[in-house]
């Protein structure tokens, strides 16, 4: 039976519209991942071989162990942002004579084969060979290996548990996040040392392999919680969350009415974002984006690196455009045929999207204004990146939107619906984040940093002046690609 399931999964992935993305994107992603893999591998071998010389004053094993907890935390956050929660729309199998527990074990087990679980293997293997193997017994090494394996798997399951609950607007997840942030701060200000804790924990596991039960129990516990929550959510009816409570009518924004059809379309877009689970959970990232400045501005090292500040500015003021633009058109995939038959002016259709992005960029820009208290040049940089974003980034995502042909299910709530979070969408984000830096660098290389910032802003401003003709480029592409897009959107995943 497992074989049959795996075959179905394989077919589903192979036949989804994603793979029919252009060859170029596939090659680029493949390249990106091989480079990443190679870098990690080379880095790991270097680290493993030379670790004792890097920190000559410390015991290499204890020192190495002190980093593990940070590593896992980083891994947790990365997984939370990027890793897909295993998707298997189990609904078609529910009426078949397949045990529910089998279905849940299957989707849980699937996630264990994630790319992320192999990174620790790459990092730890050289270290164990070079630094641990010569000094410890086989029994101890085996225990250590299992400690690492179970810890990795715990992180894996916890990240999934977390991600699902957060999308279910679970308060507990928020609290856990807060605890993580507080721990980070406490560590930063040397109130407690996570490094020492980490070192003590993992060294103990190495010296006394009996401790391996602890990570095992954490893993087993997390798996069990995951299992029980999933098995109770297997009822499609509950997944759809047909809550019968009285609806709070979102009153129409009267102000938009005066813009005629464009206003109506903007209003539709706003409702789209406020009423769907998928969109709501995406917008959770907005505040995180806006708080990004606090990571960099308080630190003098970064304040010296103005290239970094340009990047941070682009990231914050372009956050919404990125989140919204990644899936532009895909957001509307479930009613796209309706759009095509009802709308006879697609310039106007894109115009509505443009205004949404401009208005929200203005809003995010205003929110980032107080960062100027750190340094007045932040204000200048953020203004420049803001102009770049409303000029260039808006047009870029609108043009890129015509490449989107992946259907998104916005309405199916909770557990089994997390399609689309993949590296492809990051392709849309890179130019938005890096574009301003690329313009800035040549200027700053010749010592003309201020001119660089002005150039970034000016580029945006020029694009703003030509926004109508630039929109037309996107519209033309859209009209050419409309059949392909609509065909992709009709494919229900």
């Amino acid at each position: 039976m497992i074989k049959w399931f795996i075959q179905n999964e394989w077919r589903e992935t192979k036949r989804s519209a994603v793979w029919e993305q252009s060859l170029g994107i596939k090659i680029f992603l493949g390249f990106l991942f091989s480079i990443l893999f190679l870098e990690i591998l080379v880095g790991a071998i270097f680290l493993g071989d030379k670790f004792d010389t890097l920190f000559p004053d410390d015991d290499p094993v204890e020192k190495f162990n002190s980093f593990i907890l940070y590593g896992f935390t980083l891994g947790f956050l990365t997984r939370f942002m990027i890793q897909k929660v295993p998707v298997l729309s189990v609904e078609p199998y529910l009426h078949l004579p397949v045990k529910k527990s089998f279905l849940v074990h299957y989707i849980s087990a699937k996630s264990l084969f994630s790319f992320f679980n192999f990174i620790p293997v790459i990092i730890f293997t050289p270290f164990i060979i070079f630094q641990i193997a010569p000094f410890y017994t086989g029994f101890q090494i085996t225990g250590y290996i299992f400690t690492i394996i179970f810890s990795t798997l715990s992180v894996n399951v916890l990240a999934i548990l977390f991600k699902r609950n957060l999308s279910g607007n679970n308060w507990i997840s928020g609290i856990i996040f807060l605890v993580l942030v507080l721990l980070g701060l406490a560590d930063h200000y040397k109130i407690i040392s996570l490094g020492d804790v980490s070192s003590a924990l993992f060294t103990a596991c190495l010296e006394n392999p009996g401790w391996v039960v602890v990570p095992f129990l954490i893993f087993a516990g997390a798996y069990l919680i995951n299992f029980t929550t999933l098995i109770h959510r297997l009822y499609p009816e509950e997944n759809n969350r047909l809550r019968r409570k009285q609806r709070k009518e979102v009153s129409d924004i009267k102000y938009l009415k005066q813009f005629g059809v464009i206003g109506q379309l903007m209003q539709l877009e706003i409702k789209l974002f406020m009423r769907n689970k998928r969109t709501k959970s995406t917008m959770v990232f907005m505040p995180i984006f806006l708080l990004y400045g606090f990571l960099f501005y308080p630190q003098d090292i970064y304040m010296e690196m103005s290239g970094m500040l340009v990047f941070v500015g682009a990231f914050m003021t372009g956050g919404f455009i990125m989140l919204y633009g990644q899936y532009m058109l895909s957001w509307e995939s479930s009613y796209f045929d309706g759009i095509l038959t009802h709308i006879d002016d697609f310039f106007m259709y894109y115009r509505a999207k443009y205004y949404i992005m401009v208005f929200s960029s203005v809003a995010t820009f205003i929110v980032t204004l107080p960062y100027a208290f750190y340094d007045i040049k932040i204000l200048m940089i953020n203004t420049a990146t803001f102009l770049f974003n409303i000029g260039i980034s808006t047009m870029y995502v609108m043009t890129m939107s015509t490449f989107n042909k992946k259907r998104l299910n916005l309405d199916q709530g909770s557990a089994f619906n997390y399609q689309g979070v993949s590296a492809t969408q990051f392709l849309v984000s890179f130019p938005i984040m890096l574009g301003p830096v690329l313009i800035y660098w040549p200027f700053s290389a010749f010592g003309a940093g201020t001119a660089g910032i002005i150039a970034v802003g000016l580029t945006g401003l020029i694009a703003v002046f030509f926004n109508k003709s630039l929109t037309n480029i996107a519209v033309k592409r859209f009209l050419r690609n409309r059949y392909v897009i609509a065909e992709g959107f009709r494919q229900k995943l």
Binding site: E249, V261, Q264, K271, R275, N276, L340, T341, D345, D411
Partner: protein, 231 residues
């Protein structure tokens, strides 16, 4: 009014639709029947410019639908739930379309009144999003939406599917009234031969993407249809 010129649609090398010349005149009520895979939905999607024709074109009022958008203002259509914006309430959905069609405000109220009995109290004022309605009620929303802008051309793909018997009868009545009072051109596909003969004056049997028979309705039509579909 609607005309195909050497229209073909192929997937890979397999031709799924080949309609060299089908003409539908103004005011005609045109029924499309055929077994699964005969190409009914494909034909409608081609008329609505939702898929690209492999060869030839569809013209509405002499204009290629793929090149011009003028037909959109006069055409009302509902093929499947890919037309419905399911996170809106039915009222909001209708209001949005009224805005897009630039209907005066009073017309929307009038429309709600006209369709009250068709909705049978199950659609309006329920404070539910379209996605929370049953399939039959979603179908009603889609059909009503296709009709609301008083289109000159109406295209419905299997409109009777999923409707309860009372609503099916109401829909037949509604369509026949429209036919009598206006010069609307209707294109309706259905698997229910009784329904389609009750509404349509001309019936086209599609067989593997080709015109098998093009019938003007007489007393014998039903027999001819039954003869074709008999196994």
């Amino acid at each position: 009014m609607i005309q195909t010129i050497n229209l073909t649609k192929a997937y890979n090398t397999q031709t799924v639709l080949n309609l060299p010349e089908v003409k539908i005149e103004k005011g005609e009520s045109f029924g499309l029947v055929g077994n699964n895979g005969a190409g009914k939905t494909t034909f409608f999607r081609l008329i609505l410019d939702l898929i690209r024709a492999t060869g030839g074109e569809v013209q509405i009022n002499g204009e290629n639908v793929a090149k011009s958008d003028n037909w959109k203002k006069i055409t009302g259509s509902f093929l499947d739930d890919n037309f419905l914006i399911d996170f809106l309430t039915p009222e909001e959905y209708f209001a949005l379309l009224a805005g897009i069609y630039k209907m005066p405000k009073g017309d929307l109220e009038e429309f709600f009144g006209e369709y009250e009995s068709f909705f049978n109290g199950e659609v309006l004022g329920r404070k539910k999003y379209i996605r929370e309605l049953s399939r039959g009620n979603q179908q009603k929303v889609g059909i009503a939406a296709a009709l609301m802008a008083k289109p000159q051309i109406l295209i419905l793909d299997e409109p009777f599917n999923g409707l309860d018997p009372s609503t099916q009868i109401r829909l037949i009545k509604l369509l026949n009234e429209l036919k009598a009072k206006t010069d609307i051109t209707m294109l309706i596909s259905s698997h229910d031969l009784n329904h389609v003969t009750e509404v349509c004056d001309r019936i086209l049997i599609l067989h593997e993407g080709q015109v098998h028979k093009d019938l003007i309705k007489t007393e014998n039509t039903m027999k001819e249809l039954e003869a074709y579909f008999a196994v």
